[in-house]
Subunit: 258 residues, 2 copies
DNA sequence: AAGTGGTCTAGACCACTTT
DNA sequence: AAGTGGTCTAGACCACTTC
């Protein structure tokens, strides 16, 4: 090999044996970190190709197999998409493929998946304590709160309440939302440089209150699926809290266990 | 290499170019299939070690790297568990680790996870049409239906209705269930040679009916999470249909999106 | 010390896409 | 034809576990 290897290789190597800190970090993990940092820094934009495996191997002074293993893991985490013969591309929310990765609601009977969105409000306010805690903000810091209704197959089906850190989403207004069609995560990615990577959801069954019943056109007290989602970007920083109320009379939340 | 390679390699190679049928099947995929067949046939029992990578490479006449890639995928699908320095083991439902892979219900506030089970009934009957369809049986074929209540932290929280194909679960009785403590999937695996591998769930919010309300100690009409699960073994044959009703006042269903 | 999985390399060749 | 990801090999060495 080439001497430039030591630049990459020795860098993260010096971890000591303190509790929980691994003594040896495999080379491919170090390469993976470097690539993740590049993605986070926007060195390669969503939808664009990253350098080829051969090029990266040369650049970092490691073998192609090592780069390959690093990219394999990035692909498994959906940070990147491999396309044989073409290259490896930064994942993006502007794709049909990614649409149903986060909204896991399907019609009970096969049918079209027409999806309409109606913004009810979008305002900036001081973070309630619970939201501040979840988003890692100080109580009272600025947040954006969006409320909207999603229509599936012509029926109002989802009422979403979305909380975002105000600093990161400066300039997000109702007008800007209205001017955009498509998944919100696409907007966040393109306009605010914030790409949602991972999310955890907590799901409950709740009874509809009066305001919700009105918006979804259902009875007060009707059972609704409540989906609370915390989404995060690279390095697992939480940047969105979303509470969705789903009318599941004609749709269902689907999940694969494996 | 060794000539025995051709035995494994040429076997699945002859696929023609018909619609959707891949022309070339990589070697490691063929090895993976052979291993899966071995698992399915019970050549290595749950909890036991499969042969070492070197041994398998020798046996199939391929390189260790190829065997390794095959096993990597089996591990990713949770069919097998790798333990460095010890070997690769057939996954089993008799492990703390696997408990919460299928029952994804957690207490809202950190607390113990005591789990009690009470069988309400277990009877054999002719399959209702819907159940028959899901399990791939002819209408009227024998099925086993189990109903039970799960207590979480001392509170009745889950009402399960479980449907199994009668032929595969011959000899499953209420007494046998009562004599067993632990996850049902452990019993199915040990006593009936049926290991649940994958499952898909459809989740809705529903209102409690009178019978359910009685059993869970809640009000009629209270919102409940309805989780319908279809579980399958190797080769994706559906072998269980389960409808669970969860009281989510103090617990939630959790999910990771990545 | 011996055996297992885990990492890394260097190089060959294949399948696929674009030029 | 050239470039990309995908497969496969052979061999070295490392980390971890057991004997």
């Amino acid at each position: 090999m080439n001497d430039s290897r030591s630049q990459a290789a020795d860098e993260a190597q010096g971890d000591d044996g303190a509790a929980g800190i691994p003594r040896y970090v495999p080379l491919y993990v170090q390469i993976k970190r470097l690539l993740t940092q590049g993605l986070q820094a926007g060195e390669w934009k969503p939808g664009e190709a990253i350098p080829s495996e051969v090029e990266l191997a040369r650049r970092y002074g490691v073998s192609q197999g090592t780069v390959r293993k690093a990219i394999d893991e990035l692909a498994a985490e959906n940070l990147v998409v491999r396309r044989q013969g073409r290259g490896t591309f930064v994942a993006t929310h502007h794709e049909a493929r990614t649409q149903f990765r986060f909204l896991r609601l399907l019609p009970d009977d096969k049918g079209g998946e027409e999806l309409g969105s109606r913004i009810i409000e979008c305002r900036r306010l001081r973070a309630p304590v619970e939201v501040a805690r979840i988003l890692g903000l100080r109580a009272g810091e600025a947040v954006v709160c969006i409320r909207r209704v999603l229509d599936l197959q012509g029926q109002p089906t989802v009422l979403d309440e979305i909380w975002l850190p105000g600093a990161r989403f400066r300039g997000l207004t109702a007008e800007r939302l209205a001017a955009y069609s498509g998944p919100l995560y696409g907007l966040f990615e393109r306009e605010f440089g914030t790409r949602m990577i991972r999310a955890t959801e907590r799901i409950k069954a709740v009874a509809a209150d009066a305001a919700t019943a009105e918006l979804l056109g259902i009875d007060v007290g009707a059972p609704l699926l409540q989906v609370e989602r915390v989404s995060s970007t690279y390095d697992d920083v939480a940047v969105e809290f979303r509470r969705g109320l789903y009318d599941t009379r004609r749709h269902h939340y689907f999940n694969e266990l494996s």
